[in-house]
Amino acid sequence: MQSFAFSDTEQEGAVSTKEQVDEYILHHLKDSHDFHLFSYSNDAGERKHVGFPLPVILWSSNGLATFMSSEFHHDDNGQVIVERNGSKFVKLHSKIYELDNGASSVSFEEEHHATNAHKVLDFSITKSVVGVLLVGLLMLLAFSSLAKQYAKKSIPTGFGRVLEPLVLYVRDEIARPNIGEKHYRKFTGYLLTVFFFIWILNLMGLTPFGFNVTGQIAVTACLAIFTLVIYTVSGNKDYWMHILWMPGVPVFVKPILAIIELAGAFIIKPFSLLVRLFANISAGHIVVMSLIAIMFTLKKSLGVVGATGLSLVLSFFITLIEVLVAFLQAYIFTALSALFIGMAVAEHDHDHEHDSHGHEVADVEDVRGDFI
């Protein structure tokens, strides 16, 4: 790392107009290659940025290239060119492009898209990756210490007393009812991991560090695909039967249903998971930041005190709601994952119990089996 905290100058001024606010919000929602804490203008009118750079790891046409993000000098418009292994890289709208052979600067078309540069595979330790690593470390520390407590005592003390009910909640309210008593144990580890991963990342997104990990479509897609893989791999005979050759319907309907069910299992279900989480968290970030921006955009019509007060009150309440949403989205993602897994492992046994009058006694498993 070249320098832990650094500052340099930039021509752009402070974020104060509506256009600048919009741009700032959109920029925030994207992943970034450095960890930016805050910016200010010093007495000389220079723009200072405080934060620290993160490593950039690229797979370019000339092989692996690594350097620190500080080499871009906070440029996001393709102006600063970094040369590594004979390749020229620029950063444009939070993405890193490699210049085509022979080009020495980026040329743009009307919509500000580069015409002589292409994207590269970017394995950088971006801000989102830092967030993921941080959450992973926190989870490992917190829950392995809880696990260690059980070796000595049967009831945890201290912070473990907070964590244990959460673990029990996921197990008893999400895994057990959705997957069923017989199979839930195998999938509880995944569901617990995903639940705490999403929840803590959502909460971290509400801190001033401004992580937006669960608002990255690549992250939510990855989570959704994990669920897809798990319920596809663990699907039993009944599950595939119900997808490919639905019993109890006329033969000519079966192929049509099979197409619908296949689309449902492989496209709609994961897509609903990934889009729901992504959209909710992104929307939350946009709303909170927009309400904070009222401070600047309504300064003229409401005055400094009025605009600041309105902004504080509104963003305070929305942030409270976002705290709820952070939990809710983690719960929904985990519960739906559990439900999809439950559908795949449900046993539609046809030997129903009969009571003394010969009526079927519908047990919980059957009702669940019929319902999903």
Binding site: L121, S144, K148, I155, T193, I217, A221
Partner: protein, 166 residues
């Protein structure tokens, strides 16, 4: 949609997949497995403890019932023993009374018989003594009466006068 696809970073996707796989593996190995196992153990422990307490309660009740039964048995046995003892006592008393009565009657009869025979012997003795005494007296009287001539003559005279009278 185009913006979404443009925002999708394949690199981040790959990194996230690797990190999530690692996280799931580590969490399952070092956290979830021990935690869930201990929770299950604790729950089954609580279940067993509850069942044991229930069983102990039932045992206690059984024991109490047994005690009650034994007490009842002991009480009735004591009752029976007391009753038997009383019967034996009464029987003994009545038996001995009977015996004593028979013995007494027998003794009484023997005594009466002895008295009777003693009485007879005494009467006989008295009779013989009276006879001897009467003879001795008569002898003495006769000797006295006939000791002198005069008296013998007087007697003859008296006897002769008696004859006259007749």
């Amino acid at each position: 949609m185009e913006v979404l696809l443009n925002d999708f970073s394949p690199g981040l996707f790959v990194v996230q997949t690797i990190l999530l796989l690692g996280l799931i593996f580590l969490m399952v190995k070092f956290a979830w497995k021990p935690i869930l196992n201990s929770l299950n153990e604790r729950e089954s422990g609580i279940q067993e403890a509850l069942a044991a307490a229930e069983k102990a309660k039932a045992d206690m009740q059984n024991l109490q019932a047994d005690n009650e039964k034994m007490l009842q048995e002991a009480r009735s046995e004591r009752e029976a023993m007391l009753k038997e003892a009383r019967e034996i006592k009464e029987k003994m008393i009545s038996d001995s009374k009977e015996q004593a009565k028979i013995e007494g009657d027998k003794m009484l009869k023997q005594a009466q018989a002895a008295i009777e025979s003693e009485k007879k012997a005494a009467v006989a003795d008295i009779k013989s003594q009276v006879a001897e005494l009467s003879v001795a007296i008569a002898e003495k009287v006769i000797k006295e009466e006939l000791s002198s001539n005069e008296k013998q003559l007087k007697l003859v005279d008296t006897m002769l006068s008696d004859i006259k009278l007749n």
